[in-house]
Symmetry: C2
Subunit: 396 residues, 2 copies
């Protein structure tokens, strides 16, 4: 039995495909520090489970296709703290940010159309585009200059009559980059001049360090009819397993159209929406505490990388990822070797090879993505293991 | 800003699009009996919420992309009671049956391919097919003979070189039809002779009345490599708002391929999977009780319809739907009229116009789908309101 061509052409998740090798290492008695996946160890605020435990209806009924009205209100209030004003018919609740991204692609592009995406990019952008026939057209950025966007002209040259949208994460996964106000406005100008949508994946909005100025696409009035804001509680409130995301736009026709997609999958889980409603009311001080913790972690990882021979990276200002160029030819081979062959005191560390985050063939082969989502002690140990591993790998 | 052609070409859910009119009627003080949507009033077994309340981890973490291993084991055991034997790498957990259907279409069809579906069909089959470029090719069936499948030759004539799969619900939504063993084998033969997949939506497997013999596609060994079994806890355990479905196939390559789609959306909510694990262990007697209740309801509705002047329907043996031909020209107009203009003692009743369940233009215009999901008293009152409404509508 043949599978569809589109399914065959999909790559396995570069983040998840090495998991079986890690499981094997664990069976052999090794402890593996997982810096390969953005699963934070930060406690989910207790209000989430409390609200769900208090649910006492006898029937777990369908929710509204658009989402629970109380959750939508809660998100509207949250956006107000960032000077973004959304009305209740401008927000849809989705199965994680993932589904919001998928719906944004379906709504803005037909099969054969293109979406511009700065690379390296969140690898699942491929996973959403490919099944619906959308081509990801990469805007290449480089570790050496901190993954800054190329000039307006360089981006303009990539736009064809098939290009319908620019999709980008800011703060960036996997780079940790935060685009400057000028960069954000550069994209806005390009969108206006070429009649493009902007799919702004801002799920890491709170993860900004060093008092770096952050500009949301939701704050640029002149593109308000072409901006789609993707959000999620996964990282914001350390609730990755709840799968509650959202799709917001001031373009009411667009939202009304996407509601048809929401209707076809009926609704998002009722209980998680009840929990998420409370999360979006959590006090701003929660983010300050989390932020302080991640900044400390970023510094531990960055300082350690910076002191390692032949490792190249610029200090990122956001999210909780760093892309590092390693002094190896094939980072995937190195990551696998770290799991299979290396250990110190029965411990090793796991990263995501970065090649899968690039669309351009050959790029990222010597890079890894590090998710700094463990505590101080574990992160220090992880960096120690990386340094030891690099030396041993070189001499093997 | 233009929307994609595919989004524009999607119809609003015929089940959900009249909801605002119903809400308006309620604001005017009318009580509306909702027989328009398959939201049962049956209590969700308590083990579901209990298991979730007992969850006490501090972080709501990502689950596995394939699904929680314990839930998969629980489903494997459930299938054994139906003499279906699945291994743990043959089942994927999905966001409701909806996502399983979407993934099945992406995996078996490329854009431009066709899937054969007996009509009237579950309207969201359109909602899953259209965004991924798959054409639904209808096998027309008729109320007059209880929506039985046409002959093998008639179906064969509909198959082109673009046809990749036959998708059908059995027991059927919206018809309540149960295919005979001979009909199921007719589909199996056609699938083998034309190298097609069978996407078998069996979410109503337990809802079979009158000791009617039920044959699952999971029991036909000669097509085991081409059958995909779609399941869900929504109706089975009255947990529609939990959104836990599954995709099962003995074709391991297919399952491995679809796992890539699962990886791109990361996972299904952790808590609901914990609850669903317990649901699938619920004793068989639960189904017997539910079954007795639904059979009683089916009889109330069918007997009432049968006694109404000019109403045509055959007794359905499964699920909890009846399609009835009404003595009106435009059933949608009648349904809207019942909400806006009709009331008896400030009460009215709502159905789903059936036209949206057909792909062939013009069919189903005088039909409604009735979901018999309310208790005996409410159902009797609903049928009384329908009969009064039909008389008044005719004389207006």
């Amino acid at each position: 039995m043949k599978l569809s061509k589109r399914l065959n052409s999909m790559q396995e998740s570069p983040i998840r495909k090495l998991v079986p090798i890690a499981e094997e290492a664990k069976l052999q008695g090794k402890k593996v520090y997982h810096l390969n996946i953005g699963q934070p160890d930060i406690m989910t605020p207790e209000v989430f489970l409390k609200a769900i435990r208090d649910f006492d209806e006898e029937v777990i009924k369908y929710s509204f296709s658009q989402g629970e009205p109380k959750l939508i209100e809660s998100i509207i209030d949250y956006y107000k703290t960032y000077d973004m004003s959304f009305e209740k018919d401008e927000i849809l609740i989705t199965n994680g940010g993932s589904e919001a991204l998928l719906f944004a692609l379906i709504a803005t592009c037909d099969a054969g159309d293109e979406v511009l995406v700065p690379e390296p990019f969140y690898t699942n952008y491929n996973g959403f585009s490919l099944p619906v026939g959308v081509k990801v057209s990469p805007i290449t950025t480089h570790a050496e200059n901190g993954f800054a966007l190329p000039s307006k002209d360089e981006i303009q040259d990539l736009i064809t009559d098939k290009t319908k949208a620019i999709m980008l994460s800011n703060p960036g996964n996997p780079t940790g980059v935060i685009y400057t106000d000028e960069e954000v406005n550069r994209i806005a100008d390009l969108a206006i001049e070429n009649d493009l949508y902007i799919i702004a994946d801002e799920v890491y909005r709170e993860f900004v360090y060093d008092d770096f100025d952050y500009t949301s696409f939701g704050n640029i009035d002149r593109v308000k009819d072409r901006v789609i804001i993707i959000d999620s509680i996964s990282k914001r409130y350390s609730a990755c397993g709840a799968r509650i995301g959202s799709f917001a736009s001031k373009n009411k026709d667009l939202v009304k159209g996407v509601l048809k997609l929401c209707q076809s999958r009926l609704c998002v889980p009722t209980l998680e929406q009840i929990g998420a409603t409370e999360l979006y009311k959590v006090d701003q001080s929660y983010f300050e505490d989390v932020n302080t913790e991640y900044k400390k972690r970023r510094d531990i990882v960055f300082d350690a990388l910076n002191s390692m021979n032949g490792v190249i990276c610029k200090k990122p200002h956001g999210a909780f990822y760093i892309i590092a160029k390693l002094p190896v030819e094939d980072a995937e081979d190195f990551v696998i070797w770290m799991l299979k062959e290396f250990s110190d005191n029965s411990e090793t560390v796991m990263f995501a090879p970065a090649e899968g985050f690039y669309a351009t063939e050959g790029l990222g082969k010597d890079e890894i993505r590090i998710a700094y989502i463990l505590n101080e002690k574990d992160l220090k140990r992880s960096m120690e293991l990386l340094e030891m591993g690099l030396k041993e790998y070189k001499n093997k």
